[in-house]
Amino acid sequence: MVTETHTKEEILALLQEIKDPEIPVLSIQDIGMLRDVHITNNGYEVILTPTYTGCPAMGIIEADIKALLETKGISPVKVSLIYSPAWTTDWMTEEAKLKMQRYGIAPPEHSSCGNIAIAEMHVPCPYCGSKHTELISRFGATACKSLYKCEDCKEPFEYFKCH
């Protein structure tokens, strides 16, 4: 039996500390992965949606959430995954995109991802801002990123794919 000593707002505020292990400047809220928190008689349920179906960071994020809430005396915690509505980069806040850019990853360019070919053109370089860039590979070091190079400052960079 849970005595409701922690509100949903409190828990959401605490969860700001949980970062995406692959882009540690972004919280799971910033990225749009945290969908909801339910408080029931049986405990607390944190609802997440995966960015990619095979995202290997999910296990780490789940463990981080449980460990963090436990230290604050919030338990039992269950982390549930939902697939619908499907995660989209449209849920990423403007602030999140700015943080991502400062971290050296070009944020997703277009809000609509219907046409991949158009979304991939003229991604601005996160270092110098030049749009004179070229796609090296659609698939980067993680599922969510593509590889680019900047023709002006010559730096290679990653682009967070439109999804």
């Binding site: 697939y83 590979s137 999804h163």
Partner: protein, 252 residues
């Protein structure tokens, strides 16, 4: 067959296709022609393993006998697998791997777009999620087929050989059995035959853009709907399942 049995068997087919294709792509890890392509092929494998996990987990819950995605992946033998023959065949070379990806992703692009409208909300949700990934898979396959077709004499010949050799495995993608009939009726799964014209159009467009010939349809191989496979699936499973067979219930 009850509705539940039909649905279980059908979801296994979807999960198995993702799992076995994923395994073949993962065999390229550290073997691809260059680093970026190594990352790309393993990224594709990762998308597919994620899809397989979601589907097999759902299959286990539909069956209701306590089997998890892991039990279903690691404790079934080849006759209990329902993936299309095309995805279990050996990688052969890079051109074969890419040509197969073209055929499969062109099919899956149409298939999962249609499955988004399933009367089964779990399947519809997985479909919407996975479709976004498949669009990238198709774009990748398309680009490479064009690049190989427009490359050197050798690259063109090799991708044409791959297209020709895989062709007889493509009609199985659209083969329907009694599970299909039963589930189509209730709006749970799409009619596969209806997807064929769009698939043929997409594949033809890519092959034409690559200045490759579209094979003329002849003999078509089949078997997987009944769990009858090529000799290659058993070898694949013996590697994939080794750890769980040798050390049952081993965990990280």
């Amino acid at each position: 067959m009850t509705q539940q049995e039909a649905l279980f068997k059908y979801i296994l087919r979807l999960g198995d296709n993702a799992l076995i294709h994923s395994h073949r792509l993962s065999e390229w890890c550290s073997n691809a022609p260059f680093l970026e392509e190594d990352l790309a092929l393993t990224n594709l494998a990762l998308d597919m393993i994620g899809r397989a996990q979601a589907l097999l987990q759902y299959a286990g819950s539909v069956e209701g006998k306590g089997r998890t995605e892991d039990t279903l992946a690691y404790r079934r033998s080849e006759r209990q697998y329902y993936n299309n023959l095309l995805v279990e065949l050996p990688n052969t070379d890079f051109a074969y791997t890419i040509a197969r990806l073209l055929f499969v992703s062109a099919f899956e692009k149409e298939y999962y777009a249609a499955l988004q409208n399933s009367a089964d909300s779990t399947l519809a949700a997985i479909a919407a999620k996975t479709l976004k990934e498949i669009k990238y898979h198709f774009a990748h396959a398309h680009d490479w087929v064009v690049r190989l077709g427009m490359g050197t004499e050798e690259s063109k010949q090799r991708v044409q050989n791959a297209v020709n050799d895989w062709w007889m495995y493509t009609s199985e993608l659209f083969e329907m059995d009694e599970t299909d009939e039963q589930l189509v009726k209730d709006g749970i799964v799409p009619d596969l035959k209806a997807l064929y014209p769009a698939w043929l159009q997409a594949v033809t467009d890519t092959l034409k853009a690559a200045s490759l010939d579209v094979p003329v349809s002849g003999y078509m191989q089949t078997g997987s709907r009944k769990g009858i496979h090529t000799e290659h699936l058993g070898h694949l499973l013996s590697e994939m399942q080794y750890l769980q067979r040798a050390y049952p219930d081993a965990e990280w």
